[in-house]
Amino acid sequence: MKLSRRESLNGLLLLSPALLFFSIFLIYPVSLSLQFSFTDFDLTTGKPPDFIGLRNYINALKDPIVIDSIIRTFIFSAATCSISFLLGFVLAILLNEDLYLKRILRSISIIPYIMPSAANALMWLWIFDGEYGIANYILKTLGLISQNIVWFAYPPTAMMGIIITTSSKMTPFMMLILLAGLQQIPEIHYESAKIDGANSIQRFRFITLPAMKGVIGVTVVQGIIWSFKTFDVIYAQTLGGPYYSTTTLSYLVYRYSFDYLRFGYACALSFILTLLILLLSVLTIKLVRE
């Protein structure tokens, strides 16, 4: 087929606002960022940036703070993704069954997802308050703890705090995508399996799971991207602390950018972050396809 010249010209004309916008405010900055990452651009010294080659990248990979924050990001991501996925999948299956209030429950379940993550994080901050928080009260009443926990003062509990907070927003997101996937599976498949005598676990194993492979892959990839990009929750709840215990790679990039003003180093870190996200997404998609 021959491209009509007039049509592609019109097409480009229509596209030009978006192309212009992306070029000026996204592509140009990303390329600048790549340039910065090869320099010692540092706002605190006030001297013009010098080209230093790959030194930022080499330093980053030798820096225990960076390595630890990458490991922490993986832990944070694995925990939030698995909690959200499991909880979301169970909820999706429940909401796909015959139940009361089906329509209301389905439509309100989008609310936690659409809430501002900063507000959600602050609300959890109050639940986990060390002195007056209801989390401690409930755990004490249940006899699970004897003394109040100051959640955001200790590394493991602070990590748990940001994981639970992020999961509470990611779960409904995953649930809604999974539910849409479940609704695509033709009812006939289940009926014929029932006639063949398959029990509900077998039906799940041999019909639901294979049919949902693609959707599951999409939700997991989205979860990974989401958790690797997480900033709001950490900024609102812990500022990366206590010490570095909740500083993920994303948050470390923010700190190097706007707390330490080491722009060159921060840009190098941000490309490591981008590469990790890309790599993990591609890997997950490959894994699901097999």
Binding site: G11, L14, L15, V30, V90, L94, L95, I114, A236
Partner: protein, 278 residues
Amino acid sequence: MNQRKILLKIKKILITFAAILILSFLFFPFFWATVSSFMHETELFSRTPKIAFSTLDNYITLFQDSFFINALKNSAILAPLTTLLTLLISTFSSYGLSRMRIPGRGALLLLIVFFQMLPTLAYIVPLFVFFNALKLLGTYYGLIIVFTLLNLPLSVYLLKTYFDSLPYGLEEAALVDGASYLTIITRIILPLSLPGLFTVGIFAFTGAWNELLFALVFSDSTTQTLPVKIVGYGQVSGHTRIALMLTGSVITSIPPVIIALLFSKYLLKGLTSGAFKY
């Protein structure tokens, strides 16, 4: 037969109960913060949590804080303007992407998906330097531009998918009659695409309303938005601050919650079309 019916009914009740149990965990923060925002300080800060709707004091204090009012005003201005600009840019480009045979269209689409997954932090530093040079930091213009930037990949993708689903016949007839693309878009496409535009608009609005990172770095004390303001309350210790932080969080959540309640259908359509926002 009757026994089987009863069993099915029990199963239905159990499933409903289980679903409500999980949902109540997800809704608990909002519920608890709302309840807390109506309590006196003495009730709020007691060792045994109470449920009481006893006062509007926290709301009154908050609405007397001129900084909070200013943040509310900024959010209420920035979110709709971002929505408008997002809709304007994405309508034309999505139409182009959907209907024209543009060289490299596949690559363009892939690029848009890539923009969506790219972390904001990968370009925020140069954008900061760039905006500083253009004197856009701390201005409405700067914030509208960055919010639109964050919204665009999703919006273009969503609308393109929507336009793809519209029949081409009407436009062809109009083209034969010599109508221009502008006429076609405004007279034929837009009226047919209201649901799609609505979905994009809702996502753009909540996206701008909820955004924290750009709002934090690119604003100054006069252009601060609500999320930045409430996080500010959270970062200063003191009892009054906690009450304000909770009340502020509830108020900030109200517009997205109302949107979700009224338009969940549109949001779901957007979410399941393969374009995602977090």
